[in-house]
């Protein structure tokens, strides 16, 4: 599992509230990613990071922000959650061999 944990694993929140999801890795990988998974859409990249304080947007970044102040932690923030952001969120890392490994996921429900 490449030493990736995500917290929380499940969250229910109300529309308009801020939400922060945390991804933690223990193996010092440089690249980290946030995806969302929705039925019929597969995995879509939200943001990624290529080092401490170095982040960039992915395919579906609107409404999301990220931060990476330490190599091991990559935070995803929904500034004002909307129902369209109800999804399963996966964090991932890429190894030096360009293999991507995923965390266990966070199921977020916005009511």
């Amino acid at each position: 599992d490449a030493g990736i944990t995500q917290s929380p694993r499940h969250k229910v929140t109300e529309t308009g509230t801020p939400v922060t999801l945390r991804c933690h890795q223990t193996e010092n990988h440089r690249y980290m990613y946030w995806y969302r998974q929705d039925p019929g859409h597969g995995l879509r990249l939200i943001h990624y990071s290529y080092g401490v304080k170095d982040t960039d947007k992915g395919e579906v970044s609107d409404g999301y922000s990220v931060s990476r102040s330490k190599t091991e932690d990559f935070l995803l923030t929904l500034e004002s959650a909307t129902s369209s952001q109800t999804s399963v969120y996966f964090c991932a890392i890429t190894t030096g061999a360009y293999e991507q490994y995923f965390g266990p996921g966070t199921r977020l429900t916005v009511t």
Partner: protein, 117 residues
């Protein structure tokens, strides 16, 4: 835009049947190719990968895939499926020629496999 197509959305097979799931990608540069499996309620796990060399690659749990460059395809196969193979399968492609966001993995929408016991 780069894209990955998985033409089968849901495949239903009986145990011991042979499996082939299609994957096509849209660009002609050098690529890395991956198949991931997601069992119900779990995260994606790497099944196999192709970077270079022999276009027929073998992965875990008896799966294999063949890279056909001329067809931009990387189909997943298994000679005899088991009930435990019930899962969703995702093809992913990385364009080696680009860095930054264009070098990221692009995923297909997935194929759900149901194996009847």
């Amino acid at each position: 835009a780069q894209s990955v197509s998985q033409h089968n959305h849901h495949v239903i097979l009986s145990e011991a049947a042979s499996l082939e799931l299609g994957c096509n990608y849209s660009y002609g540069g050098t690529v890395n190719l991956f198949w991931y499996v997601q069992y119900p309620g779990q995260h994606l796990q790497l099944l196999l990968k192709y970077f270079s060399g022999d276009p027929l690659v073998k992965g875990i749990k008896g799966f294999e895939a063949e890279f056909i460059k001329s067809k931009f395809s990387f189909n997943l196969r298994k000679p005899s499926v088991q009930w435990s193979d019930t899962a969703e399968y995702f093809c992913a492609v990385r364009n080696v020629n680009y860095g930054g966001s264009q070098g990221n993995l692009i995923f297909g929408k997935g194929t759900k496999l149901s194996v009847k016991p």
